[in-house]
């Protein structure tokens, strides 16, 4: 098993109810699988805010994995102590 940290930004926080969480995962898991785990955990609203009907990341959502911005869900392997950020992009001023 391995541990990763997930950081959520608004408006995703309104669905997850938290800003930061640590979760335990099986080793070797891929990013797309992790997203599915989170969709199963947080439900339709989470999926709806994140993905289009074609299961692509919406333009007003930002996903960052270990400092790298992710434009498409892919088979990138998640490592122990990875940091994943999932956030809307509207904010500031």
């Amino acid at each position: 098993m391995m541990k990763i940290k997930i950081i959520y930004g608004a408006p995703i926080t309104s669905i997850t109810g938290k800003h930061i969480e640590e979760i335990s995962l099986e080793k070797g898991i891929k990013l797309s699988e992790l997203i599915n785990i989170l969709i199963n955990k947080y439900g339709f609203n989470f999926k709806n805010i994140l993905l289009t009907e074609k299961n692509e990341v919406k333009p007003d959502v930002l996903i960052i994995l270990n400092g790298k911005t992710i434009s498409k869900l892919n088979e990138e392997e998640i490592n122990n102590d990875s940091i994943l950020s999932i956030t809307g992009i509207v904010g500031g001023g």
Binding site: I7, Y8, G9, A10, P11, T13, S14, K18, H19, I20, E56, V57, K58, P59, D60, V61, L62, I64, N66, G67, T69, I70, S71, I83, S85, I86, T87, G88, I89, V90, G91, G92, G93
Partner: protein
């Protein structure tokens, strides 16, 4: 200007406080044509009427309260007014916007601009009621907070519907980043306009009136503003969560300015989140005049040591600068600090910046114990923050040093303080870190005419925030590079920023809030929308290309103001910390690498001399600013 005028009030009020002289002047048709209004018109007045190199706190300075043609109309987000002056903080062009209802009421009182000149021999306030102007004694108001001043004046003038713009104790003491506050909690915060008012012994301006704003083509105007409102109603995130939602958004990006920019990630960001505010302290949303977005928050802390009455805020900038910027996660203390800054009349961005700066200077051993007199200058100490806000406002103890702003305080502290201080041109850096957010903010901070600013001229931060961004701000038709390169790629950012810099002037000259002008077609007011709205309102026909040209003219005029004050490429720089890597979080390691590249791109794109950053004579002639070119030569 004798012919019938649409959209504008048609008059300027000029008050010489030295001579107690009140003059009403017609709007100049040539200025309307060249600069449209609000900060564009005011910049032209300041160019032609201010001598270069004056002391901004001397009677020679002027402060201009300005509205635009859209202010006070049915156009959504049209509640803005701006103040323009030579800044006592930066010595360059100072401008500061505020919402609320003061701008519309100023127009209904009969004036597009109010020019304040000279200095009164004793404290006064001005009451403008349906075109009638009185200068009234304000000696009994000196020392009063913003809220107290507002209540007393409303009682005295016997008009509870009037709008009051005033200074608090900070402005009276000429704290260099004192704000002008209106409608109690709305702030024209940046650049020290409150200090300029204080230097003139002007405590407040009260306005009210019933003058109509006439519309040239009402049917077309109504059609265009209705479409604009539909677009802005799509800004659901701002409405629902307020600007403070950026705390968790930017933290998730690793770009939440924390511990004086040491890092962009704050472990306790959730404690300062919009959800925490909504669950425990929010009373309701608040909106400015004619605003369908309603990003304002109205909050209170009911009990305990941080208790406050209901008041507006905190906004994102305030929440970060009085929070994670100093490693503070106590939201109640942040709300209290916001309330105090509003009431003392202090810019929350500059206040937070300078307090955190003092903490780091003390940590490094650069501030002596006898200066702080027992105050615990340390991170995550809300009591210290509250204490220092009071000391700054009253210019007492170390507060007197910090009231000078971070640039001057750093010079006096010495050691490595000048290198550490986070400002550009003396304006304290706000809560957007170019290193973690987007490098377009790096070129913006370096070149902006009012100094280190995230939102004048416009806020380009949404452009490349996500890889599949749709946020072209409607600027592709003008040549904005599209799609954007990655937010951390510096090449091309100077070219891209030119478009945002120019477009950002349009809300500034129209009298509009910048939140109406971010995003993409369908959820914002585009250049073409502005051209249509303006043409139907005023009967002065312009298309989107002509409007961009006017905006470019105004941006260059403001740049020329600064050039005349001696500011050139050497002053378009970033603080040293921007070249240091972010220490932790999702943007760990990011830093600015090559500002010169971005500067060269921007200057070339703008038609400015690359070596000096000065607009070329050819560019100024193209923009019909030949007389300015001759003076700068």
């Amino acid at each position: 200007m004798n012919k019938k005028i649409f959209g504008y009030a048609g008059q300027i009020l000029r008050i010489d406080l030295s001579k107690k002289k009140i003059l009403k002047e017609p709007l100049r048709e040539d200025f309307i044509k060249k600069y449209i209004g609000c900060t564009g018109y005011a910049a032209a007045i300041l160019w032609y009427e201010l001598k270069p190199k004056i002391d901004p706190l001397s009677p020679e300075n002027k402060i201009i309260f300005s509205t635009g043609p859209l202010t006070g109309t049915l156009c959504p987000c049209s509640g803005s007014y701006e103040i323009c002056f030579k800044s006592p903080l930066t010595n360059v062009f100072g401008e500061s916007r505020s919402g609320g209802i003061f701008g519309p009421k100023m127009k209904y009182a009969g004036f597009d601009h109010i020019i304040i000149e000279g200095k009164s021999d004793k404290p006064v306030y001005i009451w403008i009621n349906n075109g009638e102007v009185e200068i009234k004694d304000a000696q009994h108001l000196y020392g009063k907070t913003v809220h107290e001043t507002t209540e007393i004046i409303l009682e005295e003038i016997k008009d509870p519907q009037a709008s009051i713009a005033c200074i608090g104790p900070a402005g009276e003491k000429m704290v260099r980043f004192a704000a002008v506050m209106n409608d109690r909690d709305r702030a024209a915060g940046r650049c020290g306009g409150g200090a300029v008012m204080g230097s003139k012994n002007l405590k407040a301006i009260a306005v009210n009136g019933e003058k109509d704003i006439e519309i040239a083509n009402p049917e077309k105007f109504y059609e265009f503003v209705t479409e604009a409102e539909k677009a802005l109603l799509k800004k659901t995130a701002l409405r629902r969560f307020g600007t403070i939602n950026a705390i968790t958004v930017l933290n998730a990006m690793g770009a939440l300015p924390t511990k004086y920019g040491y890092t962009g990630f704050f472990e306790k960001a959730e404690d300062v989140s919009t959800e925490r505010l909504s669950n425990k302290y929010l009373i309701k949303r608040r909106a400015c005049f004619a605003c369908p977005i309603g990003c304002g928050r109205y909050s209170e802390v009911k009990h305990g040591v941080w208790a406050t009455p209901p008041h507006e805020g905190p906004e994102f900038e305030t929440a970060d600068m009085l929070g994670p910027w100093m490693c503070i996660s106590n939201l109640e203390a942040i709300i209290k600090a916001n309330y105090l800054c509003n009431n003392y009349g202090l810019d929350t961005i500059s206040t937070g910046n300078v307090i955190a700066f003092a903490i780091e200077c003390y940590e490094k051993g650069w501030i002596k114990e006898d200066l702080i007199k027992g105050i615990k200058l340390e991170w995550d100490n809300p009591e210290t923050m509250i204490k220092l806000i009071s000391l700054i406002a009253k210019r007492e103890g170390i507060g007197d040093l910090l009231a000078e702003g971070v640039m001057r305080a750093a010079e006096k502290i010495g050691h490595g303080a000048p290198e550490l201080a986070l400002h550009t041109k003396g304006l304290e850096m706000p809560a957007h870190d170019p290193r973690g957010e987007t490098k377009i903010m790096a070129i913006k901070y370096a070149v902006e005419y009012r100094g280190g600013c995230h939102v004048h001229s416009g806020f380009p931060g949404l452009y490349d925030r996500s890889p599949e961004s749709l946020n072209d701000y409607g600027l592709k038709q003008f040549g904005l590079p599209w799609p954007p390169k990655g937010k951390f790629i510096e090449e091309g950012k100077g070219i891209a920023y030119r478009f945002f810099a120019i477009f950002g002037q349009i809300p500034e000259i129209m009298g509009m809030c910048q939140f109406s002008s971010m995003g993409s077609e369908g959820n914002m007011i585009t250049v073409k929308d502005y051209a249509n709205i303006y043409s139907s309102l005023t009967g002065i026909e312009i298309n989107e290309y002509e409007l961009m040209k006017i905006a470019e003219r105004v941006y260059n005029l403001k740049r020329c103001f600064n050039v005349r004050e001696g500011f050139t490429r050497k002053d378009d720089k970033l603080p040293k910390r921007m070249y240091e890597p972010i220490a932790t979080g999702p943007a760990k390691g990011e830093h600015v690498k090559n500002l010169d590249l971005m500067l060269n791109e921007f200057y070339e794109a703008m038609g400015w001399d690359i070596k000096t950053g000065i607009p070329t004579i050819e560019k100024l002639k193209e923009l019909e600013l030949e007389d300015i070119a001759r003076e700068l030569k």
